[in-house]
């Protein structure tokens, strides 16, 4: 795989703990090919560009197929081996991710990297100087520490040589195979004619970048929404967004927070982030509550990234994939549950027929080829409905499981209602919002994500304060800072497109509409009534009667009649 032209044998990662370092072993091209053919490592998310420090892969778990013998060992990086063994839903455990991030520039191992050492020394020097000054004084960072001992160089004499000699790919390959990253960078530095003319800072930057590029020190990171997203996004540069134009670093935390996602909550989610949001929410539910992951029409929720999260069976048990089209059909119909129920009944009926025919075939005791073919056919059909696959959801959820779950979800949504609504999908935002709002508990929060502001504006214009309160449209500015002595500044490039979030709280639609006084019209009248009733008990009765007919609230009439 093309990260620094090295291939990771993920078998080598087995037994590593989170946070542990390991070396990338450069492999011969042939071995690399072999490894690739074995699908030990899938370089799916690694871009072709070389300036990547983070990689992500997955190790196959045995899935009962022909690959089982080849791949008996499993990579474990989160210590959830017990989960893997007892996992009754192999569907979700097909792959176990092993995540590796190269954090060489920051690793505390001084022997590994002179730059780290240098950086640490500089920072320490700064710290000591400042410690002497005491914490109350705010003297700016002492520049002497970093510049006084070196002659100040500028780029005055720097000549940009277009055709300067670069090591060829073969030479680089040889260097990688034989040298340490330290030696490689030394060589590159020598090859760079301009190096001596660079400023001290840019010399250091040159070495730092080359070191990152050629280093083979890797570190295992824990898998969670943030690290997974960071890994995926770092491979398309920080500024890029791949999945549904969804910037996970700052938008994902906000969605989780605004939607009040926590253990015990029951969010209703419609997403097009390929499972990233689903995984993130399952992580926060941790097996308590429910996640209704909705999709429309005949489509399936695309949850391909879910397996990176290593979800445990209890976490998966909280997930309900739900066909919202069917649920909505039944919800609006006069006969509740007709679509879903009949679907299930029809399936049972169909199953009964198939079983009868199978039994008839068994009774006939015929043994020729056609009969056995028929029998196989029937069994296949039965299996397709899902009655013979007991307790497992080997591939997709079966038709039966699907129908049953939808019935269950229907009643859950109808009775208990979702505790938050999260929309981050390709579907029409306004219509899906107003269509799904009925599943949301009154007073509960909702979050709608859109990469463009316009759909949210349309939605906001239509959602008045009888629908929701506290609505706000916002985007996020999120900038990373380079923190080095005398060189602290924001990074030169940043993502300028966070997408937009609309959040708010649902208002109870059954709120006593008539009981609210529309002041401009009724304030005076109500006041007069009240004063009048105080003087004249008969008028009070009239007022009370009128109050029930008009929009004068019950409280007022109660107050007036009690004050007699």
């Amino acid at each position: 795989m093309p990260v620094n032209q090295c291939t990771i044998m993920t078998e080598g990662l087995i037994g590593l703990r989170i946070g542990e370092c390991f070396d990338l072993k450069p492999l011969e091209p042939e071995a690399r090919l072999q490894a690739f053919a074995k699908s030990i490592f899938m370089p799916r998310f690694v871009a072709e560009k070389e300036k990547k420090f983070t990689i992500m892969g997955k190790v196959y778990k045995d899935k009962g197929g022909p690959q089982q013998k080849k791949q008996k060992k499993q990579g474990e990086d989160t210590g959830t081996s017990a989960d893997a063994e007892t996992d009754p839903h192999p569907k979700w455990a097909l792959y176990r991710p092993v995540r590796c991030a190269n954090t060489v520039g920051l690793l505390p191992d001084a022997s590994m990297d002179e730059l780290t050492l240098r950086r640490t020394q500089l920072l320490e020097a700064l710290n000591e100087v400042e410690d002497d000054l005491g914490m109350t004084r705010t003297k700016p960072a002492d520049e002497e520490a970093s510049t006084s001992n070196a002659k100040m160089r500028t780029n005055e004499h720097l000549i940009d040589i277009a055709g300067r000699k670069q090591p060829s790919a073969e030479e680089m390959g040889l260097m990688r195979a034989t040298m340490t990253e330290q030696e490689i960078v030394d060589q590159l530095q020598k090859a760079n004619e301009n190096f001596g003319e660079k400023t001290e800072y840019s010399q250091e930057k040159f070495r730092r970048e080359k070191m990152l590029k050629h280093s083979r020190k890797m570190r295992v990171l824990p898998t969670n929404a943030i690290t997974i997203a960071a890994t995926l996004w770092s491979s398309i540069a920080e500024t890029g967004m791949k999945f549904a134009n969804f910037r996970a670093r700052d938008v994902l935390p906000q969605i989780l927070a605004m939607a009040n996602v926590q253990a015990g909550s029951r969010p209703l989610l419609v997403e097009s982030t390929e499972g990233l949001l689903t995984g993130a929410i399952l992580e926060r539910l941790a097996g308590h509550g429910r996640l209704y992951c909705g999709h429309f029409d005949t489509g399936w929720s695309d949850l391909r990234m879910l397996h990176f999260f290593n979800p445990s069976p209890t976490e998966i048990a909280t997930l309900r994939e739900v066909n919202l089209s069917e649920v909505l059909q039944d919800f609006s119909g006069e006969e509740p549950l007709t679509t879903l129920q009949t679907k299930l009944e029809r399936l049972y009926e169909h199953k009964g027929k198939l079983e009868q025919r199978l039994a008839a075939l068994d009774d006939s005791n015929a043994d020729d080829a056609t009969v056995s073919a028929q029998r196989a056919d029937l069994k296949k059909n039965l299996r397709a409905i899902g009655f013979t696959i007991r307790g497992t959801r080997n591939k997709l959820p079966t038709k039966e499981a699907d129908a049953r779950e939808n019935v269950e979800v229907y009643s859950e949504l109808k009775n208990a209602q979702a505790t938050s609504l999260i929309l981050a999908s390709k579907y029409d935002i306004k219509r899906s919002f107003f269509g799904l709002l009925k599943f949301l508990k009154p007073g509960a929060p909702f979050v709608v994500f859109s990469e463009a502001v316009d759909p949210l504006v349309q939605l906001r214009e239509q959602a008045n304060n009888k629908v929701a309160v506290g609505m706000a449209i916002q985007e996020t500015f999120c900038r990373e800072q380079q923190v080095l002595p005398s060189r602290t500044h924001p990074l030169m490039s940043m993502s300028g497109r966070s997408g937009f979030l609309l959040s708010g709280h649902k208002v109870d639609p059954d709120a006593e509409e008539g009981q609210l006084v529309h002041v401009k019209v009724n304030k005076l009248a109500a006041y007069k009534e009240a004063v009048k009733s105080e003087r004249d008990p008969r008028a009070a009765k009239d007022a009370a009667r009128r109050a029930t007919q008009t929009s004068v609230p019950a409280e007022v009439s109660a107050a007036t009649s009690s004050s007699e």
Partner: protein
């Protein structure tokens, strides 16, 4: 606001034994109907958000008027309430010092309403009485996610401050996790404890009065180890050695500092202590509003319809027919430019100009002639067509800076 605090302080902390919960303290799953003793948010608008403990027989003074808390009980969350106000005016009531009920005048419902919402950490940030500068929701959300918190995590926070972040942390780690929060100001500790008790966070949050610089996080927490540490202190670098002691290997740490000099020193100390993947972020929300603005269409770019609306004085279409047209169009014009007119109405200082901009209407020959003469005397720019377009604008005042968040992994031993 004062009344809110009063209600909170009256409530004895942890009146009932915290039951073993399988859901977070802010989970809304059992929150349908407001019950006696619930902490609810009274949401009027973005600038008026208060929280109140519902107690039978008590009232709640609000900007809008007096709420009778009896009325809250049994209402559904998300429903709207209107306050009662004595018909005696406020000043008089203050002077006589009499209770608002049972007065000479009956209580009447008054204008304006508020919505009752369940308490969430976000609303808490708006409703809390600020004892210190608070952490804002975006930063809080970032901290929770980037500290890799999930239910069951143990997290250490210092200092507690107004407790805004504590709520976010508690929500993320509940039900089985723990938030150990430290604060060196005794008054703030007491106030925070009351707040947490009112929100029923007792079984998740443990608030301690301690000076972290000097004494660290205590032997108990150090022995159990924490998954994450958050430091919001003037000098986080002084607390870092203690954080190392309390963190599990490769745990997460985050420091929040408003000044970059603090960040530099913190990062330096982190590098020295062996923290890795040090990353400093700055996050700001940018809020938008929907509004309408005036747009001027120069004469040359006007369509025929627009020209018809803003008729040119002595123009090519002069004559009696055009005059009749104008009379007929008068109403339609008004509709078309209604929004623009509303906009103009707000722009008080330009009153004179505002009148001039209105497409002139003629109801009688006299006025029309006068208007034509008037129109002719005006400079060209006043014949421009004004439209009112819906636009999305950022708010004028936005947060320019809150602080830098510095994240890192603890040393892997």
């Amino acid at each position: 606001m004062a009344a809110v605090e009063k209600n909170l302080t009256l409530e004895a902390p942890a009146s009932e034994e915290p039951a073993h919960r399988e859901s977070g303290p802010f989970a809304c799953d059992d929150k349908d109907i407001i019950k006696d003793g619930d902490l609810v948010v009274v949401f009027e608008n973005h600038t008026s958000i208060t929280k109140v403990k519902v107690k039978r027989g008590e009232t709640f003074e609000h900007r809008l008027g007096t709420f009778d808390l009896d009325h809250f009980v049994g209402k559904r969350y998300g429903s709207r309430v209107q306050p009662m106000r004595n018909n005696m005016n406020q000043r008089k009531r203050a002077r006589t010092g009499r209770a608002s009920r049972g007065e000479s005048g009956a209580l009447v419902q008054v204008g304006g309403y508020a919505t009752l919402l369940p308490l969430t950490p976000e609303l808490w940030c708006d409703a809390v009485s600020r004892r210190t500068a608070i952490m804002f929701p975006l930063d809080n959300a970032m901290v929770v996610s980037h500290l890799h918190l999930k239910p069951g995590s143990v997290v250490v926070e210092s200092g507690t401050g107004s407790g805004c972040l504590t709520n976010f942390l508690a929500r993320a780690v509940a039900p089985h996790g723990r938030v150990h929060t430290f604060e060196f100001n005794k008054a703030r500790v007491d106030a925070a404890k009351l707040d947490f008790a009112a929100a029923k966070l007792d079984d998740v949050v443990c608030c301690t009065h301690a000076n972290v610089y000097e004494n660290g996080f205590g032997a108990e927490v150090e022995s159990t180890k924490a998954d994450a540490v958050f430091l919001d202190l003037p000098a986080p670098w002084l607390a870092l050695p203690h954080a190392v002691k309390v963190l599990r290997p490769f745990g997460r740490i985050c420091t929040f500092s408003p000044c970059i000099e603090q960040v530099q020193r913190t990062a330096a100390k982190m590098a020295k202590l062996g923290f890795s993947s040090i990353m400093t972020l700055e996050c700001l929300p940018r809020e938008f509003r929907i509004t309408k603005i005036k747009t001027t269409v120069p004469v040359v770019f006007q369509t025929e319809e627009e020209k018809a609306i803003v008729r040119r004085p002595g123009g090519s279409r002069g004559g009696a027919n055009a005059e009749a047209d104008d009379v007929a169009k008068g109403e339609a014009d008004e509709d078309a430019n209604k929004a623009a007119a509303a906009q103009r109405k707000r722009a008080r200082p330009e009153r004179k100009q505002r009148q001039d901009m209105r497409p002139f209407q003629t109801s009688s020959l006299e006025t029309s002639v006068a208007a034509v003469i008037d129109q002719c005397a005006r400079p060209m720019q006043e014949k421009e067509f004004i439209t009112a377009d819906r636009v999305i604008l950022p708010f004028d005042r936005q947060k320019g800076h809150t602080g830098y968040l510095t994240f890192a992994y603890a040393p892997f031993k």
